[in-house]
């Protein structure tokens, strides 16, 4: 690899870029550039602003402040079409495929008009293009019928079809096996030696260190600096990615005996994006699920709640759990707290009172008529216990802050006497720091009653502080299990970013059979 000198012209340059989504400041005064022939990696934790930076560079999102120049030409705000004209290609993490169109049609739409073949010949043309990139995918197949790995490779090829001068790759290897990763990396090398400026976003530090010339680290939307890759180590990068000024207090751990009674037993559970997974969760335990986004953690958690389809077996308290619909787990006391509170957990326009008691109305009534006084007492009690901040229990849930909304959805497991397992998906996402502690405490208090909780979170600090045990998932499988004294934020992050390394993957089977 020829390392481009500092004299190579800038192909992409972002200056002083800021962007807020509602109350969340996704990027704060970030500057970033990429020279011709250079591979510049962008790393950071989930939610550190990497994808937002790419969205701004590609014109998909307009920044609140700052400028974008592609090949020394300034990009008009929020126009992906113009970015394309300026010869910028991007492979999106969540792809840009129209799933109901064929592979050939998708490829056709991905290239500018002057490169497009006659419409009647798109299939031959598409086959020829795919051949150039040595990608073996049927051109007449519907894109939706491809495997996730094929879709990801196709996304990269689409970005390259227009022969871009700047290529942005957003987590291009999340769905890929080792062979495909190798294919992709040889492609990246080929392109950069041809003078293409490549921005490479990835969680996987070994991959990044292997392929990048320079590395920029983002943390909480702020750049932590740009470094020569040759002078960096995984340790140094992890330290830069973490390093939070604020340390959170966590509730004291309940000491779970490893002989404690098993509550939830998962065996050979397998779904579209995860598995097979074997797992045992014990009474009084909080189990954490970690991993880079999109590695099947969400799907696994939701499969336990019967919301995502899966095969395999799950038993709770010794009896088989019917996970073909949400009803089975609900009846068995396995409750899901969705990350999408507004759409899946709460009735945003209803009051705190109504949202709290909706699952237990029967127990609050007499002869089918609700006893309001009793209902109010129950809700008041819980609101106090969970420290829900609101004007009154009649306030609509949508007018509460994110943290207080989450507390409202947490009241439900408290009200039901028959809860066995709480499945919490990102329980503190968009929740302010003060409310986080209340939520941790509520979860811990509830598990101390002898139930179990499984927490899926993209925040390693939270997992290390809250959980008794953390499993790390990659490509749908459990690759590590961290417990006891080993459990730390750093250890979790290392497991996540190291998940591209073959050494770690070899230990996967061991972790599962433990």
């Amino acid at each position: 690899m020829s390392i481009p000198g500092p004299t190579s012209p800038l192909a992409l340059s972002l200056r002083g870029v800021s962007k807020a989504f509602g109350p969340v400041q996704a990027l704060r005064d970030v500057s970033f550039d990429c020279r011709e022939g250079e591979t510049h990696a962008l790393v950071g934790e989930n939610g550190s602003g990497k994808s937002t930076l790419l969205a701004i560079a590609s014109g998909f999102v307009a920044p609140d402040a700052g400028t974008v120049e592609i090949g020394r030409r300034r990009l008009r705000r929020g126009s992906p079409a113009e970015a394309r004209r300026l010869r910028l290609g991007i492979a999106y993490q969540t792809y840009s495929h129209v799933l109901d169109l064929s592979v050939a049609e998708n490829l056709y739409l991905a290239v500018p008009r002057n490169v497009q073949p006659r419409f009647g010949r798109i299939e031959e043309w598409a086959a020829a293009r795919l051949g150039e990139f040595k990608l073996d995918v049927p051109v007449t197949a519907l894109t939706g019928s491809l495997s996730l790995a094929q879709r990801q490779l196709l996304e990269v090829v689409k970005a390259l079809l227009a022969r871009p001068g700047v290529l942005l790759l957003d987590e291009p290897t999340t769905a890929l096996g080792p062979q495909d990763v190798e294919w992709l990396h040889s492609l990246v090398l080929e392109q950069s030696s041809a003078g293409v400026a490549i921005v490479y976003v990835s969680h996987r530090l070994p991959e990044v260190l292997g392929i990048a010339d320079r590395i920029t680290v983002l943390r909480d939307g702020v750049s932590q600096g740009t470094f020569e890759a040759a002078a960096m180590s995984e340790d140094a990068l992890v330290a830069l990615m973490l390093g939070r000024p604020l340390q959170l207090a966590f509730p004291e751990r309940h000491h779970v005996e490893s002989q404690a009674e098993a509550l939830l037993a998962v065996s050979g559970l397998q779904g579209e994006r995860f598995g097979p997974i074997d797992l045992i969760v014990r009474k009084g335990e909080i189990l954490g699920i970690a991993g880079a986004e999109g590695n099947g953690q969400v799907q696994f958690l939701r499969a336990l709640a019967g919301v995502e389809r899966a095969t395999g077996s799950v038993s709770c308290n010794g009896s088989q759990l019917d996970t073909t619909s949400p009803l089975g787990p609900l009846r068995a006391g396995v409750v899901l707290l969705s990350a999408d509170r507004a759409r899946e957990s709460l009735f945003p326009v209803l009051s705190v009172r109504a949202n709290t008691t909706i699952q237990v109305l029967r127990s609050l009534g007499r002869f089918g008529v609700l006893r309001r006084g009793r209902e109010r007492r129950v809700v008041d009690d819980l609101a106090q216990r969970l420290r829900i901040r609101m004007a009154s229990i009649e306030q609509p849930v949508q007018s509460l802050s994110g943290g207080n909304q989450q507390k409202v959805s947490l009241t439900r497991p408290f009200l039901r006497g028959d809860v066995n397992v709480i499945l919490a998906e990102e329980p503190t996402q968009a929740v302010d720091v003060g409310a986080r502690f209340d939520i941790y405490e509520a979860l811990r208090a509830k598990t101390n009653e002898g139930i179990a909780a499984i927490v899926k979170s993209s925040d390693p600090l939270e997992l290390s502080g809250l959980c008794d045990r953390v499993i790390v998932m990659s490509r749908g499988k459990i690759i590590e299990e961290i417990r006891g004294d080993e459990l730390s934020e750093r250890r979790i992050v290392e497991a996540i970013v190291g998940s591209g390394a073959p050494a770690t993957r070899a230990s996967a089977g061991e972790a599962r059979t433990r």
Binding site: Q93, T94, H97, V98, Y108, F119, A292, R309
Partner: protein, 332 residues
Amino acid sequence: MKLRAWIPLALMTTLIVAVGAYAAARQEAFLSEYNLRNLLLATMPLALVALGQTTALLVGGFDVSVAALMTMSLVTASFTMQPGSSWLVLTLGAFALVGVGLATGVFNATLIQLLRLPSIIATIGTLSVLTGASLLLRDHPQGPINSDVIDVLKTSVGFVPLAFVGVIVLGVLGDLWLYRTRPGLAVRAVGLDETSSRRLGMATGRVVFLSFVVCSVMASVAGFYLAAEVQIGSPIIGNHALESIAAAVLGGASLAGGKGSFVGTLLAAFFLTLIGNVLPLFQQPTEYAEVTIGALILLALVLYEAPELVARFRSGQHDRRARTRHGEAPAG
């Protein structure tokens, strides 16, 4: 076009042939030149408005205001195309009709594309406005339409009105455009997945905007044939909005956008008109037509979805919306 796209065309053709053959066998009058010509002419308003509705459905929208717009066009025609006017005035009057359509289209498209209102809500609003305006202009049926214009609109060779040939040509060209050209593919892509289309640098806003303008213009052109049929400026004319959606959907359009066929829409529009035409031949009350049409729509929809249902059953796929949401979980 894939298998799913051919099912509606095949089903509609079969039903037309079946109903037609049955009617011809039972009633000699059915195949008379007079009846066939009337049948084709009666198809015209629905055919035209349904073609427009198909373009709105293709980009994932609805246009409920088309019926009110057709009435508005009819009422406008009763002012601008009166008996005894010179051809110059009549030509200008015709432009006025199309102008009403164009203005309504731009209005709808602005509400939907720039103000981001859901199309069904936006067009319900427009429907009310146009209905009220029509009633203000004509509070009862009044103002005959110029009969020379009607004769021109109804010009036929044998039993085939030239205009009917026109819409068929339009439908075929439309389908060729939709399935054999780049802009057609782009329209379908926008209807199927707006986010991906925007990521691919397509002018999604412009596509949606134009589709709604085309829809309204087609509805106002349908107004001409409504005028030829009713022949007087009536503010209270039947509901073509639901019928136009029914025709488009029977013809293969998907309510979720991105799928549809103009030829299919035309066949379905003809079929719907045919049912209404055939039942009176047997002295059946028209209520039967309504029931039959409703049942057939439901049946057809189940049949159209069959390949997908089978595929879903086979691969054990789960709710697609859930999958999309998780595919889009942001990171980084």
